[in-house]
């Protein structure tokens, strides 16, 4: 009981003394607050610096090539792909566009299956398999996505770049690829094993693929790309509006996005 009274008394006294101290200092309040605010900004600035400066020292040996390729890609987008995609968008209804996207997503199942498996994500592998069977049958060759819409089974995007990242392989220098856009050494090399798993191909394979010749391959890929651009046009435009300098902006956004994908 004694100690309790002491605590109450202590709180009361400290509150009281603070009150009177405040009264005494009232004349100087403005000056003190101003100084405190300045100190505060300085301190907070330092605190945040730790959070943001840790990952910022990356080397960029291909910077001048990358800049040129970013300009080329952006030009291609503005003057070739966007006008074509706009025409396509006027001719093809949104529902059909979404079905075409579903179809392409569905046939890339082997890529997602193998990479989920390689990362030991067994439940995701099982879910991807379920999705493929449901969408290929009930979803009529993958044109619809009943797996997600009715069975609530989400897709689990994984590619070989993510698999390498999962096992601790660093991204390496940033490389901007013609037409494909931002990438890095790890992800560029990973395109090859993923292409082997893709049913869209033009080389001689021991297993059946959807395309056999260059012409078929290019047509299918073009349809996929134009369809994708038509659906995503707004997003790229919106992103571009925030860019002061397009190359470092896209580079940083890509590397952050991939890092997040790998962590998941």
């Amino acid at each position: 009981m004694k100690s309790f009274c002491f605590v109450v008394l202590f709180i009361f006294i400290s509150g009281f003394t603070q009150c009177s101290a405040n009264q005494i200092d009232r004349q100087n309040e403005d000056r003190i607050v101003f100084q405190k605010e300045n100190d505060n900004i300085e301190n907070e600035f330092e605190e945040f610096a730790d959070e943001f400066e840790a990952e910022e020292k990356t080397s960029d040996p291909f910077a001048s090539y990358n800049r040129a390729m970013t300009r080329f890609n952006d030009g291609m987008y503005e003057y070739v792909l966007k006008p074509v995609a706009k025409r396509y968008d006027q001719a093809v209804s949104l529902q059909v566009q979404e079905s075409i996207r579903n179809f392409f997503n569905n046939i890339y199942f082997p890529v997602r299956f193998v990479n989920n498996l390689l990362q030991g994500k067994f439940s995701h592998t099982a879910q991807e398999t379920q999705r493929f069977f449901i969408n290929s049958t009930m979803g009529i060759l993958g044109f619809f996505d009943p797996a997600k819409n009715y069975f609530k089974i989400e897709a689990h995007e994984e590619d070989f770049g993510q698999t390498l990242g999962f096992y601790g392989i660093k991204s390496g220098p940033h490389i901007v690829l013609p037409l494909l856009g931002p990438s890095n050494l790890r992800d560029t090399i990973s395109l090859y094993p993923d292409a082997l798993l893709s049913p869209l191909d033009y080389t001689e394979r021991s297993y059946p693929t959807l395309t056999d010749t260059w012409a078929e391959f290019i047509s299918a890929k073009s349809l996929e790309e134009i369809n994708r651009i038509s659906l995503d046009m707004e997003n790229y435009e919106k992103m571009k509006k925030d860019a002061v300098d397009l190359y470092p902006y896209l580079k940083d956004a890509y590397e952050q996005y991939r890092k997040k994908q790998i962590e998941e």
């Binding site: 605010e37 990952e55 002061v244 470092p248 902006y249 890092k259």
Partner: protein, 200 residues
């Protein structure tokens, strides 16, 4: 022995209260955040308003929750400290304006989408992050709102303020830092401000 028991009791009481206070803080902030989202959704869905007025109202509703000024300073990194006070003020004004425009344009597109908090992280006592899902008809977008609590409350602002937003793992502030840094390696701060002014 009794003294020791009392000390233990006091220690646990303090620890419990501290933990409780932290949980309380999170709940309070969560409520305020969700209320704010509802407020913004009402504005977005109000078809009677013109687009300009709608965007202005969105910005007005969100401003007390964002520390755009801190974001402006952080976006420049160490360059910020070297600016003259005139340039510093001009830069902050431009950046804040750009941020407001960019954010209201983005949020305006999200009609009929739902925001759900799926995880709350508190890495430090004065930092809270809300990991949210923005669910639309077609896709789901993970957006992280990062809050901090200024040591002295800023007048006209909330107690907890957003200093960064991550969309699908991409931090707005980090991309700005990256592009401003590279821009300033070859060009001056005045040129940067000219580009920002043109974007408005």
């Amino acid at each position: 022995m009794r003294g020791l028991y009392k000390k233990f009791l006091l220690f646990f009481l303090v620890a419990f209260m501290a933990q409780n206070a932290a949980a309380n803080e999170q709940v309070q902030l969560q409520n305020r955040f969700l209320k704010k989202i509802d407020e913004v959704v009402l504005i977005v869905e109000d078809k009677k308003l013109s687009k300009d007025i709608r965007n202005r109202n969105i910005v007005k509703a969100l401003t007390p929750m964002f520390d755009f000024e801190l974001m402006a300073k952080l976006s420049l990194g160490n360059v910020w400290k070297e600016l003259s006070s005139k340039d510093a003020k001009k830069f902050v004004d431009l950046y804040v304006e750009r941020m407001k425009n960019s954010y209201s344009a983005k949020i305006d597109a999200y009609e009929g989408e739902k925001v759900q908090i799926k995880k709350i992280e508190q890495p430090k006592s004065d930092r809270i992050a809300f990991v949210t899902d923005l669910t639309g008809k077609e896709n789901r977008l993970e957006i992280v709102y990062k809050f901090y609590r200024p040591k002295i409350k800023i007048s006209g602002k909330d107690e907890w303020l957003i200093y960064d937003v991550e969309i699908l793992g991409v931090s707005i502030l980090k991309t700005d830092r990256a592009q401003f840094r590279e821009f300033l390696q070859t060009k001056s701060i005045n040129e940067l401000m000219d580009v920002l002014a043109k974007q408005l």
